[in-house]
Amino acid sequence: MTSGTAATRNHLTFTRIAASEWIKVATLKSTWFLLGCYLAFILFAGVGAAVLTVVGAEGQTIPGEEAADSVIELLSMMVTSLTPLVFMAFAALAVTNEYRSGQIRVTFTAAPRRTQVVLGKAAVAAVVTMVTVAVGYALGSVAALGVYAVLGTGFALSGPTSVSILGGILFAGAIAVMSAGLGWLTRSTAGAVMAGVLAFMLFPALAQQLMGLPGVGEVFYYVFLYWPTTLGSWLTSTQEALPPGGGVGMALMWVWAAAVTAGAIAVVCRRDA
């Protein structure tokens, strides 16, 4: 009955778990729809940024680097402020859909080493997000390049602008990892996205308001300073000399991601599936 094509007896490995997670993501139409919408939006944003830059110049010649900066800045603002919701939803859904459908029991039976499953999902969420954001920067830039070419404006990436792109990509990847972690912790799409919105959108705004409070204001200042979204803004800025510096900021961003993932692993390994 089962001997027709006997299964080759391979071991369970992290690479295979990650491959399985990639197939899960790739075989859902909703994934491509969500990421496709993001890219379409970014394409539109690139065109819009270029047009606005040229219009804002009021007929004066714009240096190529300045033209590129204005587009990349807008695209980065999209990444850090407007579109994190897309990555948050994508990464959280990769986890919470499994709990909603009961598939998590199949997943943990096929791969009972739960730490590897959590890391595998985080890795796939991060890579897919970062590739999508990279493609987004490229698409937005190419669209802007087209507009500038038509309008006779140059387009040249400067060193800081290139770092800003890298920052945006890494920021989005870290946000995806954190959202996947929140998905594991809450086991609910609404819960994970709500926690993400509170953490990445509402809390920074609240912290900024509370910085002025006597006594505790300084605490909120430092929390805000090293909060993931603040780090993200620094990472994607095309301006130099913003603390705590590109490399350190990126590292701190991923320390946050690692911390949330570690919390998720601790909970998932103790909890019944």
Binding site: M1, G4, A6, N10, A110, A111
Partner: protein, 309 residues
């Protein structure tokens, strides 16, 4: 082989599994029988580490399930036919599971063919009937060509052809020397499939014996006896192997003694017998009698239902 020792699981106040020990041996089909809520599914989840035991331990093929290098090749399990992403096709679902162990697409195709899923393999699993879902669950369990197969209520929702298919598959796998552990709450189904029986009730093992022994012990005759001297007859029949129930004045239900012995005894004493009818006890009766005090969820009787309405 599955070996459980002192296995317990507590959910808050409720003790779902209460210190059970059992062994499921290879080369046979072991039925895991019990009423709803007896703890069968919880036990199966603990076998593959989905739920952590509150106490005790369980090993599969000599190790805790999670310590196996290639778990899917050790155990294939069907727990819940609906535990599939509804928007993913059956083939893609199997590909996801196969990828964890580098199992080839050919093997995926083979289990699709074995389970009769071919015509619907490209359909979204959310569109499947319960029966098709069961087939997909069984296909998932077979993917790794495992040494041990655990199937929780596999015939739920299957049509008669599907039921016979599962029964035949289980027996074939057992005959190949594999460990096959199947749960059900239907004694009739188990009697046609299993070689060995473990009966669970309220989280405890009520019986653990070969099916043949269970049948032999359970199918003893019951005799309905009607006599004007019923009380004298009951006294004369009383013994350690005999069970006598007075159904009404003059009417007895006797087990442990056959109707010929009862007739001979009555004749020897000159007592009149108005009825001496042997009644065959079914396996279902034996199962119900065994689990009588261990039923978690009991239906209201028709009369009670009538009063409530």
């Amino acid at each position: 082989m599955i070996e459980a020792v002192g296995l317990s699981k507590r959910y808050g106040e409720k003790l779902a599994v209460d210190g059970i020990s059992f062994t499921v041996r290879p080369g046979a089909v072991t039925g895991f029988l019990g009423p709803n809520g007896a703890g069968k599914s919880t036990t199966m989840r603990m076998v593959v580490g989905l739920d952590a035991p509150t106490a005790g331990s369980v090993r599969v093929n000599g190790k805790a399930y999670r310590h196996h290098a290639a778990p899917l090749h050790e155990v294939g399990i069907l727990l819940d036919a609906k535990a599939v992403h509804p928007n993913r096709s059956a083939r893609d679902h199997l590909r996801c599971v196969a990828a964890t162990h580098g199992i080839s697409p050919k093997r995926v195709d083979a289990v699709i063919e074995t389970t009769g899923l071919g015509p619907v393999a490209g359909k979204r699993a959310g569109q499947f009937s319960l029966g098709m879902g069961q087939r997909l669950g069984i296909a998932t369990a077979l993917l790794g060509d495992p040494e041990t197969l655990i199937l929780d209520e596999p015939v739920n929702g299957l049509d008669p052809e599907g039921v016979i298919w599962v029964r035949t598959l289980a027996r074939q796998l057992g005959a190949q020397g594999r460990t096959v552990f199947i749960s059900s709450h239907l004694m009739s189904e188990m009697s046609q499939t299993a070689d060995h029986l473990i009966v669970l009730g309220r989280g405890r093992v009520l019986a653990d014996k070969p099916m043949s022994q269970f049948i032999a012990e359970s199918s003893g005759t019951v005799t309905r006896v009607r006599s004007p001297q019923a009380s004298e007859l009951a006294q004369a029949l009383a013994g350690p192997q005999t069970s006598i129930t007075v159904l009404e004045p003059g009417l007895l239900r006797v087990t442990g003694v056959d109707s010929a012995q009862i007739g001979d005894l009555a004749a020897a004493h000159g007592w009149a017998l108005h009825e001496n009818t042997p009644l065959q006890k079914s396996l279902e009766d034996a199962f119900l009698a065994l689990t009588e005090g261990a039923v978690e969820y009991r239906s209201a009787s028709m009369s009670e239902a009538g009063r409530q309405s």
